[in-house]
Symmetry: C2
Subunit: 370 residues, 2 copies
């Protein structure tokens, strides 16, 4: 069993409420939530999202984190009145999502998808190694872990309407923007804008997507729901490693800004059984490159912008972050311990994605199909 | 010269301010703005966007419009203290944009694009007549008419970075959602959700888009700016006509809800010269069909959602709503009266889209390239 620490080296931010009380900002410490508005006497934490705090910028993020660490370490008794057991709170969507963008940054995932959909051509399209391919998704249907997901209906092919028969998941990381940038110029450094990381499940209706997506990309095949974890882990808490080597060398504006190949191990559980362990460090495009790309045309950033990494798949079969890949488009069913098999999701199935980064926990994003 | 009336039969809503004052909601009446918060004593109009008013729903929209019409008609002198000349106000972005979706609903536009990009294949892709193709765009870069547009830079092809050389416009209508819908179920009737119509210019960098858009659709080629008119015309003010005939007959969920083939004539002006007159009634997919499609998978609507019709092009060459089509991808330059020619936009060019609907004005959306 993977170790997951929730001590002062972790301290992810979220939004919680106790029954009858308004949602407000806290950090998770061990199995409790520290009520920050009460503990730090700062109104920025008395709101129902992290946005106002995130807008303060990286120096405020650093100083606040350091202050909490010091206070918890020096004299825990002062914090005790403001530490609420997790089982007494409801966790909410932690951010007010502005724009939601999803990338396609795993070379193993893109290669697998290419092999399945274009068996007689190069697996990777010509642009893939030159830029991080991405698209805009629907921010109004980003929901917090635990929200049930209704199986979407739609056009599955010409003249055929019905419930999606190829309901899938995509195990991703989501990067949360705190500091905005002006329209008409590229954004600044990655760590000046990005506050932290969530787990993200980009639910996907493969049949709807397959029929609708030419020439303008995914639409209803993705827009029905995107789930994120309730905890946003600050960049400072994450273990950094160099990104995967890139060939050809990226253009100047895409040059890496540092070691942002985060060392995060994900686990995908289907009805409680681990079916994959995607490693984030295997990604081709790193999050600093994605941010630079997203804004190089002068597109402004806003507080609350969320961008997904795209499905995280490693080179090994057991590291694939979607059922599409794990079952090879349904041709190699996944065997579960109870003797049942799965290609895509059935009604009642629960998918949970968890992660650990250098031993610290990132929580989970979970959803049940109804 | 096209007649454009701004009397009680029109009354579009917008957000204005006088110098030193906070933005608030008004309606345009002739060449003045009626200050609604002062005139109607309703705090919903004292805010900087139409969203709160739009959320009240169609009965409130109807009653408010009828009340204003009655008051202006019965005794204009009571309104006089609250009518401010247009040249004394600044007009702002009228709505707080939630999600922005853009469709591709003109059969003539889609056919033209197909002929240019896939000359050896069917002009329309197989899905086009079965569903209104659409995608999500960036809501954070939707700006009001008059905002300058910075020419975007980006990857133009493999290994080549630079300023966009094929900067284009797309003349569209934008539909503004007032009443939200719940996640997990389709939305209700079109007129129960959609408040009104804006003019929309979907600025497009054709070279950036061409290189990036496989397989996930347009991204940086569109996300740098989308301009809308400051006035939102209520549905009630617009002349309705039957939509264009459709073959094959659409699936049940896409069946038309009434005559929503709005009779709106657009004009596209390049540096003051009319270069196209796109007719909205020539569109294949009507806005009620687009709304039904967008939500059939259970995607929720929010107040402030904005969806574009896609480029409006009629069957005649002079009715095309993009420079790409008007110059046939640069091979047939457009001649301007001063002797100059254009294929795509040059720095300093100003594009203005205006429209009239049964004689009433819809205002304009304008932008200058810098």
């Amino acid at each position: 069993m993977t170790e997951r620490r929730w001590g002062v080296e972790n301290l992810p931010y979220g939004v919680f409420s106790r029954q009858g009380e308004a949602p407000r900002v806290g950090v998770r410490y061990e199995d409790r939530v520290l009520d920050l508005s009460a503990f730090l006497h700062d109104e920025v934490f008395a709101t129902g999202s992290l946005n106002a705090f995130m807008a303060r910028g990286r120096h405020a993020w650093h100083d606040t984190r350091a202050l909490i660490q010091t206070k918890l370490t020096d004299d825990l008794s002062l914090a005790e009145p403001h530490l609420i057991p997790l089982d007494q709170v409801t966790l909410h969507l932690p951010i007010e999502v502005a724009d939601y963008v999803d990338f396609y940054a795993s070379v193993d995932h893109a290669t697998n998808m290419g092999k399945m959909f274009r068996p007689n051509a190069e697996a990777l399209l010509p642009n893939w190694r030159h830029l991080p391919v991405g698209y805009h998704g629907r921010s109004g249907t980003v929901v917090v872990s635990g929200t049930p997901v209704t199986r979407p209906s739609g056009q599955l092919r010409a003249g055929v309407f019905g419930p999606c028969a190829k309901l899938d998941i995509e195990a991703e990381l989501g990067f949360v923007v705190g500091v905005p940038s002006a329209m008409g110029a590229p954004a600044g450094a990655f760590e000046d804008h990005v506050f932290g990381v969530t787990l993200l499940n980009d639910w996907s209706a493969r049949d709807i997507q397959g029929w609708e997506a030419q020439p303008l990309g995914p639409f209803l095949g993705k827009s029905f729901a995107t789930s994120i974890s309730p905890w946003v882990t600050p960049l400072e808490a994450l273990p950094r490693v160099p990104g995967r080597s890139q060939d050809p060398a990226p253009l100047d504006y895409l040059r890496r800004q540092g070691d942002w190949g985060l060392d995060i191990e994900l686990e995908v559980l289907l009805n409680g059984v681990v079916v994959a362990r995607p490693p984030y460090r295997s990604m081709y495009w790193t999050p600093d490159q994605m941010l630079a790309h997203m804004t190089v045309n002068g597109a402004a950033l806003r507080t609350g912008d969320l961008y997904g990494s795209g499905t995280i798949s490693g080179p090994e079969p057991g590291q694939r972050g979607s059922l599409m890949e794990l079952s090879w488009n349904g041709t190699e069913p996944i065997k579960l311990p109870d003797g049942s098999v799965r290609t895509f999701l059935e009604d009642g199935d629960t998918v949970t994605i968890t992660a650990t980064a250098g031993g610290i926990g990132l929580g989970e994003v979970s959803g049940t199909v109804r």
